[in-house]
Structure formats: structure tokens, C-alpha cells
């Protein structure tokens, strides 16, 4: 009888744990507001199937080197539905491939920033002492610079490229995680389950990553969803300033930069199309982030 009890309450195996997590995140997704999830899924699908969806190649001219109007205007053709840019490249195809770059950079940059920030936040909060002092002083100093200014500085020091931008986002945004996670760990550290783990003889690393980490995952996810939007804006700003992903790779930011000299010629689609894409994606990310903040952590509700 007693052994049955133990069997029933024994911790689930790895497979069951994974399926439980998957189940939980699926049910979470089902509750999420439809519009932002829809937008993000749409952008993600477009990004994944870009080669199938794009009518043309994004990096080569499909027409003579000249700006062509969208199809609904005189002089436009349905072959290039949204017109072409100053090099005769199809805008629609560039938007579709641009979704790829923007999404990859935004997501990877935020994920890497999260991994670094969460790790350092846990170490800072749990180890205390010198670790805490050093990590938190660095955080303070970094928060003194606006992320755009710091991003520009890094872009000036490093040579441009896709992975450089991801690295820049990681260096710029990890402090956001570290600050909040540290605060959370400070209170978790005093809880009974951590004390018990310590008494049982669990090592520091085991306590930090086996016992504390699972308990701060909710906060980390909320921070992640709130940071994605800012990260995409920063990437777009850097691309707009000409230090993002180098041309001819299309990103929404450098499409806007390309469009700037043509403002006076009233080719408004060149500016509005990539701008709307950035806006919708960031809006969706922020809406989802706000919802997740309330859903996963009711204590944050009134901030």
C-alpha cells in the first residue's frame, strides 16, 4: 500500500514533463488574444515559407533600374504588385524576405539576451557578495545609456553583419532580465524548498539551475515578450541608420532607409509598406507581452 503511494506521487519522468510543458504552453496559447497571435503566426509563416511566397528574388532587379509604381497606379503591373524600389527590385518580395531577417534577429537577439540575463541574474541573486556587486554595478552602468545610443556605439566598434546585430541586441538587452530576475531570486532564496535542497546537500549550481530556474521561468517569459518589440525596433533603427544587416539583404529597416531619398517624389508606398510591417509586428509583440504579464504574474498587474 505504502509503496503504491510512493509510486503514484513519484516525480514524472522526463517525457511526461516535456509533454506537460507542451500541454501547458498550448493551453496558454489558446487563451491568448487572437489578433496579436494571428499577426505573429502570419509573419512567422511568411518568414518560413519566404522562398515559396515571394514572386521574385529579393536581392536582384526584376525591372529596369527605376522606381515603378504599385499595380493600382498608372504605370504599375500586377507582376510587381507593390511596385519596385530605386534599383528595380520587387517591394513585395523584399517585404517577405525582410520578415525573415527582422524575425530571426528580433527573436534570437532577445533569446540570447534572456539566457545571459537570466543566468547572471540568478548568479547575482543567489551567490550574493562580490558576484552580486560586480554584476549589479555593470547593470547600473549599462542602464545609464539609452539602448539606441549603446547600440550605435557597439555598431561603430564591431563590423556589421547578421550575427553582429544579434550580438548587439544581446549585449544591450541582457541587463533588463538580470535586474528583475535578481530581485525575484533574492526572495526565492529564502523559501523553504531552496533551504531543503541545500540541507540535502545539493550543490550551488544544482540549486540555482534545478530548483530556482524553473521558478523564475514565468517572469523570464514575460520579460522576453516585452523585450521582443523593443529589440525589433532597435534592429530597425540600426538598419535605418545604415549599420544594420548590410545590403543587399532586405530588412524592413534598411528598406525604410532606401525610401528616405524618394520621399519628395511622392512614392509613398516605399515608406509606408515596410513601416506598417514593423509597426504591426511590434504592436502584436507588445499586446501579447502585456497580456502575458497580467496572465502569468498578477502581482505585476498595476505597474
Amino acid at each position: 500500500m505504502a509503496s503504491d503511494q510512493i509510486l503514484v506521487t513519484s516525480p514524472p519522468s522526463g517525457v511526461e514533463q516535456v509533454s506537460a510543458v507542451a500541454h501547458r504552453s498550448l493551453s496558454l496559447l489558446r487563451e491568448a488574444p487572437k489578433l496579436p497571435v494571428g499577426i505573429i503566426l502570419f509573419v512567422a509563416l511568411v518568414a518560413i515559407f519566404a522562398p515559396l511566397l515571394a514572386p521574385h528574388d529579393a536581392e536582384t532587379s526584376v525591372k529596369p533600374i527605376k522606381i515603378f509604381a504599385p499595380a493600382i497606379y498608372a504605370g504599375g503591373t500586377w507582376d510587381t504588385a507593390l511596385g519596385t524600389d530605386f534599383q528595380g527590385r520587387d517591394i513585395l518580395s523584399r517585404l517577405i524576405y525582410g520578415a525573415r531577417t527582422s524575425l530571426i534577429i528580433g527573436l534570437l537577439g532577445t533569446v540570447f539576451a534572456g539566457m545571459l540575463g537570466v543566468t547572471l541574474g540568478i548568479v547575482s541573486g543567489y551567490m550574493g557578495g562580490l558576484w552580486d556587486q560586480v554584476i549589479m554595478r555593470i547593470t547600473d552602468a549599462k542602464l545609464a545609456l539609452p539602448s539606441l545610443v549603446f547600440g550605435i556605439f557597439l555598431a561603430a566598434v564591431l563590423s556589421p553583419g547578421l550575427w553582429t546585430i544579434i550580438l548587439i541586441l544581446m549585449i544591450v538587452f541582457w541587463t533588463r532580465y538580470a535586474r528583475v530576475i535578481r530581485g525575484e531570486v533574492l526572495s526565492l532564496r529564502e523559501r523553504d524548498f531552496v533551504k531543503l535542497a541545500e540541507v540535502t546537500g545539493a550543490g550551488k549550481i544544482r540549486v540555482m539551475f534545478r530548483h530556482i530556474l524553473p521558478n523564475i521561468m514565468n517572469t523570464a517569459m514575460v520579460l522576453f515578450s516585452l523585450t521582443v518589440g523593443v529589440a525589433i525596433i532597435l534592429e530597425a533603427s540600426l538598419s535605418f541608420l545604415g549599420v544594420g544587416v548590410p545590403p543587399p539583404t532586405p530588412t524592413w529597416g534598411n528598406m525604410l532607409a532606401d525610401a528616405r531619398p524618394t520621399l519628395i517624389s511622392e512614392r509613398w508606398t516605399l515608406t509606408v509598406a515596410p513601416g506598417i510591417c514593423i509597426m504591426l509586428l511590434v504592436l502584436a509583440a507588445n499586446l501579447l507581452g502585456d497580456w502575458m504579464r497580467v496572465r502569468l504574474d498578477p502581482q505585476l498587474r498595476n505597474r
Partner: protein, 311 residues
């Protein structure tokens, strides 16, 4: 009070010191900054040797760092690669333009954010509130360069109402100022709205507001005289910090409107690989913001004795 100020001053200095270490480390990790001059058209061997000498790059790391900090303390950021003049004089030439832009953007962000925030808080969960929330969300989600480009398209090109390039001739030349300051103030008005709303909500839920209402004071008196005054402290703090932040993050807006401020200077340095210029502007941004935070903290401590003890 004196120990409080001393403590805050010390922690500000530590922050600046750590910031200078981060910048120093990042620059050195990426190689000899004087060699960035190689990428600069027309640079000769002796130019690089001269820059290396001027920055003391042939000395040991601790010595280099010490001279780096000493130079920052004297506001000496070296010579610009492209202009050949000192970064300091370039910077202070441009600063007044940035101050002008930031000042008007600051006024706009308050003029939009505060009234909308108050309306949202007073009529919570009403049509006003949803409007305010939507507005704040748009403020945070639409990148300022896109707002700037849209303003240029609409008011500059399509309607031809306002000029959109360059800076005004005088302080009150509003025609040149409207579009850039609107574009810059846009993002911050969203943040102001959010903070005003939450601060007002907190005050409106407090006991003394309940008492005011129980006394039978008219709602306008409750709001204007009692709630507003008390909820303004955090709002004004954020506004002050924002003003300084705006001076430094106006880069994209200044680029779109060809506004000759320090943001444009930073862009200039970035595009032309003018490393001393970029470093100078970035360091100044850090100094300015840490300085403002210090002043705000001290003022807070002066106004509210409780803060002196908790920090």
C-alpha cells in the same frame, strides 16, 4: 542630508567609472581604435602613428585606462578623424540645437501625455481609458523614424504645409520645429500617459481622496486640488529624465529632418567611421544621464525625508 548626498554622489561616480570601463574594454576588445583610421580614405601611416601616440595606445593597459578616464574628466575626447578639430568643440557647437529640439519635444510629450493620462485615470475603464491605452500602445510600438517619415510625407510633401529640412532661424520659428519635435515627443508621450495614469490611479484609491469625497467636495476640486498635486511628483521626475534622454536619442529623428544636433553628429561619426566622434558623443550621453539621475535623486531626498533613510 549630507551623508545622503555623499552616498548618492559616490554611487554615481562608481556607475560612471564602471561605464568607462565597459566602453574602454569594448573598444580595446575590438582592436586598436587608431587602426579604424585605415578604413578612412586618405589616411596615411603617420596619421595612425600620430593618433596612436595621442591616445597613448602604445602604453600598458592600466596606463591607457587611466589616461582615458583623465581625458573624460577633462571633457577631452580627442580629434575627429573627418573634421580634424576637437570633438569637444564640435559637440558643444551642436548641443544648443539638440536642446532646442528636446525642449519642444518635451513640451509636446507633456501636453499630450498628461491630460490623456488624467482622463484615462479619472474615467477608468471608459471610452477615454481605452483611447488612452491604445494611444500609449501606439506610442510604444511605432518607431519614431516611421512617425517622422509619415509626418514628412503627409505635412511636408503631400499638403506642403510645413518645411521638413534643417533647423529654424530663431527660437520661436515654430514652422521648422513642429514636425521634428512631434516625431521625437511621440514615443515619450506614450510613456508619460502610462505613468500619469498609474500614478493618478494610485492616488485616487488612497484614503485621503476617499475622505475628500466623503466631505462632499465637488469632483473637480478632488481631482485638481488633491489628486493631481500628489500624483505629479513621479510624473515630473520622469519628464525631467526624459528631457535629458531625448537630447541623446534623437538620432533617427535628426537624421530624417537633417537637424544639426548631436544625434546627427553621432550619425555622421557612425557613417564615416569617425571613431573619436562616436565615442565622445556616447560618453557625454552617459555623463549627462548619470548626472541627471544624481540631481533627481538628491531633489527627491530633499523633498521626501523617508527616501534619505531607505537608500
Amino acid at each position: 542630508m549630507k551623508t545622503f548626498i555623499a552616498k548618492r554622489l559616490l554611487s554615481s561616480l562608481v556607475t560612471l567609472l564602471v561605464l568607462s570601463m565597459i566602453i574602454f574594454a569594448l573598444v580595446r576588445a575590438s582592436g586598436n581604435p587608431a587602426e579604424l583610421l585605415y578604413e578612412y580614405p586618405g589616411a596615411r601611416e603617420e596619421d595612425i602613428a600620430r593618433q596612436t601616440e595621442a591616445w597613448g595606445l602604445n602604453k600598458s593597459w592600466p596606463e591607457q585606462y587611466a589616461s582615458f578616464v583623465w581625458n573624460i574628466a577633462r571633457f577631452d575626447y580627442g580629434e575627429s578623424f573627418q573634421y580634424g578639430t576637437s570633438v569637444r568643440s564640435l559637440y558643444f557647437d551642436r548641443l544648443p540645437n539638440s536642446l532646442l529640439l528636446a525642449f519642444w519635444a518635451f513640451l509636446i510629450s507633456m501636453a499630450i501625455g498628461i491630460p490623456l493620462g488624467i482622463m484615462s485615470a479619472v474615467r477608468v475603464d471608459s471610452w477615454w481609458d481605452s483611447f488612452g491605452k491604445t494611444f500609449a500602445l501606439l506610442g510604444l510600438s511605432v518607431p519614431s523614424f516611421f512617425v517622422a517619415l509619415l509626418l514628412v510625407l503627409l505635412f511636408g510633401v503631400k499638403l506642403e504645409w510645413l518645411p521638413f529640412l534643417g533647423k529654424p532661424d530663431s527660437f520661436f520659428d515654430w514652422r521648422h520645429l513642429v514636425l521634428p519635435s512631434l516625431a521625437l515627443g511621440w514615443f515619450f508621450s506614450g510613456a508619460m500617459l502610462r505613468l500619469t495614469r498609474s500614478s493618478m490611479l494610485e492616488v485616487l484609491g488612497s484614503e485621503y481622496i476617499k475622505l475628500c469625497r466623503l466631505k462632499g467636495l465637488p469632483e473637480t476640486v478632488v481631482i485638481v486640488k488633491h489628486a493631481l498635486r500628489n500624483s505629479f511628483i513621479p510624473v515630473l521626475t520622469l519628464a525631467a529624465v526624459n528631457l535629458v534622454v531625448m537630447i541623446n536619442v534623437a538620432v533617427v529623428v535628426e537624421v530624417v529632418f537633417s537637424w544639426p544636433g548631436i544625434g546627427r553628429l553621432l550619425y555622421d561619426g557612425l557613417i564615416n567611421r569617425d571613431f573619436p566622434l562616436v565615442q565622445g558623443v556616447v560618453v557625454m550621453a552617459g555623463v549627462m544621464i548619470v548626472g541627471t539621475n544624481f540631481v533627481v535623486d538628491v531633489l527627491y531626498g530633499y523633498l521626501d525625508p523617508r527616501i534619505r533613510l531607505t537608500r
